[in-house]
């Protein structure tokens, strides 16, 4: 099977950009990615892309140039970006193309995601006040915290790290450090999670140029290689976002399945990972996802986080770009943002937030509705 390399990365600033559509932010990301790879749009043979709320990705060809390339839209909830990357990699592995693009972008209204689960008059779930993703994240960490001894202080430490790392990231939305006490004192949105522990729906775009690994050096002196890209959906018995009911029996979630499959595909274990970007919809998610992705046992996070192990200078730096908490969550772009950050870290181009010690292996993880998870592993 042909190996796949990432040879160009481009991002439109995350946050709020008035007067620039989500699609246009995707266009900017693509232009920056092809420039980074040292090619032109006319050299791109294929593209996979998507957004949740900002339109069909393939319409961006009218801005980028009508070259006639194969452009396929991807819509896969919170794993849209991960699915675009996975599918683009498959196209190269299958030998269909040599070089192409994965792109994701989005632009969401302010406030919590407005979720509709049925047509007018049938949407009992939303009508009853249950269609909020925030409730799920709160209920999952509330049960987990009681069971495994995770304190509110630890949740605040995770969020404080996100804002601190975001302050070092010129592409991030939230760039002002906040103290743990400020985070704990902010309004309680959904017990035990306060306002500053949550990420917000936002805007942004990310594009990646992928090519056959044996051609990578035509484009860059510092290619990164895609060692695994896995998408998994939920199985019976797992506890997932926006579920009116769950089974009596417990099963691990799609994150555990995706993570194990990715390690197997890459022939790499969690101990080999030098930097990880883990879905931090809120601070509790980062804590639980550390265990679900195999980086620790349940409950170990309390000590690890207190001792700074997930800081940029720590043993396992997590969410070095500030994660979703500091970048916001434009759904279509969010998973690709994590890969973008990892490419910077592996190239040694992450500036003041560069992980020391010349990292070689980097991991990304997305989780979202309706119980879906995407994992990638990159190496130099």
């Amino acid at each position: 099977m042909t190996d796949v390399a990432i040879v160009g990365i481009g991002m439109h600033e995350f946050g709020r950009t008035e007067d620039v559509s989500g699609l246009q932010q995707g266009v900017v990301a693509v232009r920056r990615a092809v420039a980074d790879a040292g090619i032109g749009w006319e050299d791109v043979q294929f593209a996979y892309g998507g957004s949740m709320a900002a339109g069909a990705a393939d319409t961006m060809v009218s801005h980028l140039g009508l070259t006639g390339l194969q452009f396929i839209n991807v819509a896969n909830g919170c794993a849209t970006g991960g699915s675009a990357l996975f599918t683009a990699a498959n196209a190269i592995q299958a030998g269909a193309y040599d070089v192409g693009i994965a792109v994701g972008f989005d632009k969401h209204e302010r406030g919590a995601f407005r979720v509709r689960t049925g047509s007018r008059g049938k949407d009992w779930y939303g009508a009853s006040g249950l269609a909020l993703t925030t409730q799920f994240f709160a209920m999952k960490i509330n049960r987990y915290a009681e069971r495994y001894g995770i304190t509110p202080r630890t949740l605040a430490r995770v969020a404080a790290k996100a804002y601190r790392n975001g302050a070092e990231n010129p592409m991030a939305w939230r760039r002002k450090p906040l103290s743990e006490d400020e985070i704990l004192a902010s309004p309680m949105l959904s017990y035990p999670l306060t306002h500053y522990m949550f990420c917000s729906p936002g805007e942004g775009g990310v594009a990646l140029v992928l090519c056959r690994a044996d051609q990578a050096h035509r484009y860059t002196a510092t290619p990164t290689y895609l060692r695994a890209a896995v998408v998994r959906s939920r199985r019976f018995g797992s506890f997932e976002v926006l579920s009116p009911w769950i089974a009596l029996e417990d099963a691990p979630g799609p994150t555990v399945d995706a993570s194990r499959a990715a390690y197997e595909m890459a022939g790499i274990g969690p101990d080999d990972v030098d930097v990880a970007q883990l879905q931090d919809t809120e601070a509790g998610a980062e804590v639980m996802h550390m265990a679900e992705n195999g980086f620790c046992e349940d409950g170990e996070q309390e000590r690890m986080i207190a001792e700074g192990e997930t800081e940029i200078s720590g043993r396992l730096p997590v969410n070095t770009d500030g994660g979703c908490i500091a970048n916001g969550e434009p759904i279509g772009a969010s998973g690709l943002r994590q890969v973008y950050e990892n490419v910077l870290q592996l190239r040694g181009d992450a500036g003041t937030r560069q992980v020391p010690g010349d990292p070689r292996v980097a991991y990304t993880h997305v989780y979202g509705a309706p119980g879906i998870s995407a994992v990638t592993i990159l190496s130099r």
């Binding site: 049925g118 949407d123 009508a127 006040g129 249950l130 909020l132 409730q135 017990y191 019976f236």
Partner: protein, 143 residues
Amino acid sequence: MAQVPVVEDILELSDEPHLVGSRCRSCGTHVFPRQDGCPRCTATDMERVALARRGTLWTWTVQGFAPKAPPYLGDTEHFEPFGVGYVELPHELKVEARLTEADPERLHVGMEMELVLVPLSTDDDGNEIVTFGFQPVEEERSS
């Protein structure tokens, strides 16, 4: 004022209101709301069942801000935080529901809960639209 359920076929109003689910005749799995295929064993032989009215709290939170309307039908102008949780109905399933208790000090995993009706708003005909929720069993005894 007459009461109407937020959606038919989810919630049956009677002296003893109850949720309506499906049970798989092949493997016994319960689901809510009703569906025609079993997510556990993939069989398609599902029967309509009334779900249990009592259970235990499995996890919980408190909804601290007004949900967006639409789709929310409740009062967003004079919003009062409400509890949300999963209640484990013995031998059936865990159902997500509003809770009548919104004080974190008075909510804990494992407490006994029972089904109640929760008013959301009034329809054009003057009927009270109700959804379902669970209240702590102790609370009822003391009142």
